[in-house]
Symmetry: C2
């Protein structure tokens, strides 16, 4: 490799210390500092010949404008931040990509980070992004108290919450109708003859988990079916916990004939548990997921539209930045029941 | 909501203009600017009583240290950047999460962005992250010329490429054995009696796609099977293109009896195509994916370990930052063939 950087020495003791500065550019081009500044910032008052000399010096030295300095001077950087819950949950893939596409269409760079469902980490990340002077934040909140953002919002950082509402502050939020979606999904199972229906969901402090549980209860109440404690299990969505919850519901003194799964992580594990059972058990899951239609039976789901959630949230963020929005709103997107077989199985007993 | 920020006015015309400054804190606490600076930076020489007064003023005003200023002053920020290829490809989920976990263990914030497989966008994003003074970059490259990074590397930015090698610079790279994995997968199909095997892969300019094609050719050559052009299709991995490629191979004058799919996006579409065919066709896919084992037949795959790729890359990045690495290396991780049924089907004819 003749043209590689094999000779680059790594100098951890002198990080950034040897970056070329505007002064270096000015010296090499034989012009004043103000002239370099004009060229870098695209200002008038430089002859084409001088501009060419400055550009050549910039090129030769590998000078890059320091955006940190620029941000301080101009108070403005073209970037927005996205605080995710989990980088590895496929639900957030299309949501992130939609936020990125809207951001890009507005000439803005998207930078992401993940809270890993930890409220402290969410706060640390959101404030770190603010300290890096993002224009706005799209947040999938892990915590339920967002008063820490008040100084940032007051200072002009646009803020939109998505998937779950903000806690203790008044902010834009874009989310799916978790209550209505879960109620419809459970009513679907009831319409197919089920009376003993289990619910396995995420931790009860998570808004969507609580709302979906409320929808489950409402559907049973609407049908005059008393709810049994043994049919409900909320907690972390790791496969071990969900597997135990499902096995318990399927094997107790009054085993369930159907399961409503509170999100895609839960559904995938329940599918695995049911694959090992001989007795058919009906299943409806909240969230669609890849290949749900190719399983046998296909998995009936209450689908959200994660790309639309992301797009709507990002568009509101840029409307805030335009100054065209003044009052925070709650935007609730509908869900859609997709029947594929697993939710239409009759009770086995 | 009695304690919300309902009264917050959004002032797009005055972004950041009304942030409290150290001067405001000094005025409120009745101390000098230098004293506030000492408290903010944790320096000695402040009495406990004065420190308390300054902290109260910071609290009351919602003052936050401006990290942009800090970065300029100290030349150091605890953050690393990750340039992804596609936010919505599930392959990158565990990889990103692993990079984040290593980053967190080193007290560093991870910020991500995606190139969407566009070399210009990769460059724009990588340089924007450098301008925001990340200590290092983990890059899944979209382009094949990374000389634009030379000034950054020279200035001390640690750089590790992952999944695909850097182009025209000498840099650390961590990747899977795409050539060997594909050769093993195709040899597996040959061992089950197949002689007419199709290959559907990503765009040929992508390193992994080219390497996997090379592995496919090598396996056929090893078995003395002449390769036909009609059996090979490389291009974008969107479902329409892949579907057409698969249909063509399955319906020509010498239809294939088996398909080797070049990555998880291709495999998922081929599974859909084969689900609509009555004649069984064998399939081995590069990359494992969720639910591959629950399909009927289960999908035989050549599995990479994306979490290990991410972890290894991030660990090397922090070793570079420690100063404990001086010579760029290429680290190749092995793949693993997982037989589940689809790759063991005999030829249908």
């Amino acid at each position: 490799m003749p043209d590689t950087a094999a000779g680059f020495a790594r100098r951890p003791e002198n990080r950034y210390g040897n970056r070329p500065t505007m002064k270096d550019v000015a010296a090499r081009a034989g012009v004043g500092l103000k002239t370099v500044s004009r060229v870098v910032n695209g200002e008038a008052g430089v002859t084409p010949d001088t501009e060419r000399r400055v550009q050549e010096a910039i090129e030769a030295l590998g000078f890059r404008r320091n955006d940190s300095a620029r941000v301080l001077r101009k108070g403005r950087t073209a970037s927005i931040g996205l605080v995710l819950e989990d980088l590895a949950d496929p639900f957030y893939g299309p949501l992130s990509r939609a936020v990125e596409e809207v951001s890009r269409a507005h000439g803005s760079l998207l930078i992401n980070g993940s809270s890993a469902e930890d409220p402290d980490r969410e706060q640390e990340l959101a404030l770190a992004l603010c300290a890096r002077r993002v224009d706005g934040l799209v947040i999938i909140p892990a915590g339920d108290d967002h008063r820490y953002l008040e100084p940032e919002i007051r200072a002009g950082v646009a803020t939109v919450f998505v998937d779950r509402p903000a806690g203790r502050i008044d902010a834009d939020v874009v989310l799916s109708d978790s209550f209505g979606g879960a109620r419809d999904g459970v009513a679907h199972l009831i319409a197919h003859g089920h009376r003993r229906i289990g619910f396995i969901g995420d931790m009860p402090r998570i808004h969507t988990a609580a709302e979906r549980l409320r929808g489950y209860r409402a559907a049973l109440e609407d049908a005059g079916i008393p709810v049994e404690d043994a049919w409900m299990s909320l907690g972390v969505t790791d496969p071990e916990r969900v597997r135990r919850a499902a096995e318990d519901m399927l094997s107790g003194p009054s085993p369930v004939t159907a399961v409503f799964a509170g999100n895609n992580r839960v559904t995938v594990t329940v599918v695995r548990v049911l694959a090992g059972h001989t007795r058919p058990v009906a299943l409806v899951g909240f969230d669609d997921f890849e290949l749900a239609d190719l399983l046998r039976p296909g998995i009936t789901v209450v689908a959200q539209d994660p790309a639309r959630l992301g797009r709507t949230a990002a568009e509101r963020l840029f409307q805030q930045l335009d100054g065209s929005l003044v009052t925070p709103e709650r935007i609730e997107l509908p869900t859609r029941l997709i029947a594929r077989g697993s939710g239409e199985l009759p009770p086995a007993d």
